[in-house]
């Protein structure tokens, strides 16, 4: 099975329908099919062997989508590289995942031109990777939800299963027009691929200035919105009467929704926000389309997945475990295949949650220390590793501080060496080594860090929503 079959099916069924709209550029399904075929011809001339690992460092846009499908057409494995990554982070990603090639929109300095705005860098990985499962489609370089293992490996068949499972909840089809404003390097499989499989029109836009977004949504008669709680708070503040009357589904994703934003948005537009639970290892687990008003703080009842709560306390809250279609095939580094990462066939998400009597899932917080900055996940260990490498830092602890508008913000406590604090030097160091959103907002000098008495590990406070 190859995911290009999903797009081919849509091209066959809806050739003249707009698939992607980006500003004034309207690309039909037939046009997208042709663009993918042209790019695949160019990619073939490179003579890449099957299952070549290709890093894709592109901003959101039609070319991002077309290149992904073209790479699948030549049976390459797509590894998205977020645009905000520093050169250091790109190098580390490339080495950890053994990338063979990087396709980028910007010339990193030594690349060969590939097409229009594309540049290609060939790499010689220093070591060889563990063999990937046959027909691997995609590797997302992220720390896993539950561990420090990096790289979520997915085959074409697993992604297809995810897409099918997601649509039992979305119920999306050719009558829908979706407003897309999230980074494709972080979100793609159960969203863009789903939309393009089902004949949906997807408008590629931004949600920074709310009025511009609302005008675009009204102009295209958008039916589905997909954004973060922070972005919905911007829309809600822009006020009513902006023409969202065609919207049937406004999905809130990436972090928990506050009651204030949920109510303000519904008040402004008469559309309830529908929370979704997406887990990188699993896909879309649930969407609260059944009772978004009454149970605004639930992520809904799982459709294609089963959920159970283990180790519950007296209120019924405990560890969330899930099983169902589209589970990851492996973690890439260090290698861990699917069958070894499950607990009796169940995947533990690292979320704490409870189920109500009707089977609606409510998330209560995280059992791990991951920080969620306005929907972007930040892993404390990764930041500490960078801070600790600075010559003036003895050790550090990174944690999330609750923030009324953003969920959490990243903060760090630093134990400086005897030369004393050098916060400006450390900030510059962070800018060099970390994507900007990961850089701690506050650097607090401390004498010592709290440690566990026996193992001497840094004590972490776990945020509870």
């Amino acid at each position: 099975m190859n995911l290009c079959e999903l797009l081919d099916g849509a091209v066959h069924r809806w050739p003249g329908k707009p698939a992607l709209i980006e500003g004034a550029h309207v690309l039909t399904y037939e046009g997208l099919g042709k663009l993918v075929a042209e790019l695949a011809v160019k990619l073939r001339t490179l003579g890449l062997p099957r299952q070549t690992l290709v890093g894709l460092r592109y901003p959101n846009g039609i070319n991002y989508v077309a290149l992904t499908f073209a790479l699948w057409q030549i049976d390459a494995v797509v590894v998205p590289i977020p645009a905000e990554c520093t050169q250091d982070e790109v190098a580390s990603l490339a080495e950890t995942l053994h990338l063979d090639v990087i396709l980028a929109q910007k010339d990193p300095g030594d690349a060969e031109p590939f097409f229009d705005d594309g540049f290609l860098t060939r790499r010689q990985p220093e070591s060889t990777a563990a063999p990937l499962p046959p027909q691997t489609a995609f590797i997302r370089f992220t720390s896993g939800t539950t561990s420090t293992r990096k790289g979520v490996v997915l085959t074409h068949a697993s992604v297809r299963d995810r897409v099918r499972a997601a649509n039992t909840a979305f119920q999306i089809g050719p009558q829908d027009t979706v407003m897309w404003c999230l980074p494709m390097s972080h979100h793609f499989l159960i969203t863009i691929i789903l939309y393009l499989s089902e004949g949906t029109t997807t408008v590629l836009t931004k949600l920074v200035v709310p009025k511009a977004y609302l005008e675009e949504a009204a102009r295209h008669r958008a039916t589905v919105l997909y954004a973060t709680p922070f972005q919905y708070s911007l829309l809600a503040a822009a006020g009513p009467g902006q023409g969202l009357d065609s919207v049937r589904l406004a999905v809130s994703t990436t972090c928990g929704l506050s009651e204030e934003v949920a109510k303000a948005f519904n008040r402004a537009f008469g559309v309830p926000l529908t929370q979704a639970l997406g887990v990188i290892e699993l896909g879309l687990v649930s969407l609260n389309s059944e009772d978004p008003l009454g149970r605004w703080n639930s992520v809904g009842r799982p459709h294609a997945h089963e959920v159970r709560i283990v180790n519950p306390d007296e209120t019924g809250g405990g560890d969330v475990e899930i099983r169902g279609p589209g589970l990851l095939d492996a973690y890439a580094a260090p290698w861990l295949p699917r069958e070894k990462l499950l607990h009796d066939g169940w995947f533990r998400t690292g979320d704490m949650g409870r189920l109500d009597a009707d089977g609606f899932l409510f998330l209560l917080g995280r059992s791990t220390a991951v920080i969620n900055l306005a929907g972007r996940k930040v892993f404390p260990e990764e930041i500490e590793e960078v801070l600790n490498r600075h010559p003036s830092v003895l050790e550090s602890r990174v944690f999330g501080r609750a923030h009324p508008h953003l969920g959490e913000v990243v903060e760090a406590e630093v134990v400086w060496d005897s030369d004393g604090p050098d916060p400006e030097g450390l900030r510059a160091w962070c800018r060099q080594h970390l994507a900007a959103y990961k850089i701690p907002t506050g650097l607090h000098a401390v004498e010592a860090l709290p440690k566990t008495p026996v193992t001497g590990k840094i004590l972490r406070a776990v945020a509870v929503a």
Binding site: P59, V208, A212, A238, G239, R431
Partner: protein
């Protein structure tokens, strides 16, 4: 604090922490057209909160106020006077 000082501080922050080094940035550079996205907005709002001590309400995020560093500085100045 004078608007001009705020403007240069915002400009310095934008150049250092939001835009790539190859993006030429002046007080009149259109932010959104230069690649400013919602994560950039989150970081600018956090910078303003940390530096000037208040959170810009979401209702103030408009095409006009986010036009460029100059209009953003004007917004910060106005919010300082209001608070």
């Amino acid at each position: 604090m004078y608007t001009r000082t705020i403007e240069s501080e915002l400009l310095e922050f934008l150049a250092r922490e939001v835009f790539a080094p190859d993006v030429p940035l002046t007080p009149e550079t259109n932010l959104v057209a230069s690649g400013f996205d919602s994560m950039s907005l989150v970081r600018v709002l956090l910078f303003i909160e940390g530096r000037y001590g208040f959170w810009i309400p979401e209702s103030e995020i408009t095409t006009k106020s986010l036009q460029d560093a100059r209009s953003l500085a004007a917004l910060v100045t106005r919010m300082q006077h209001d608070s």
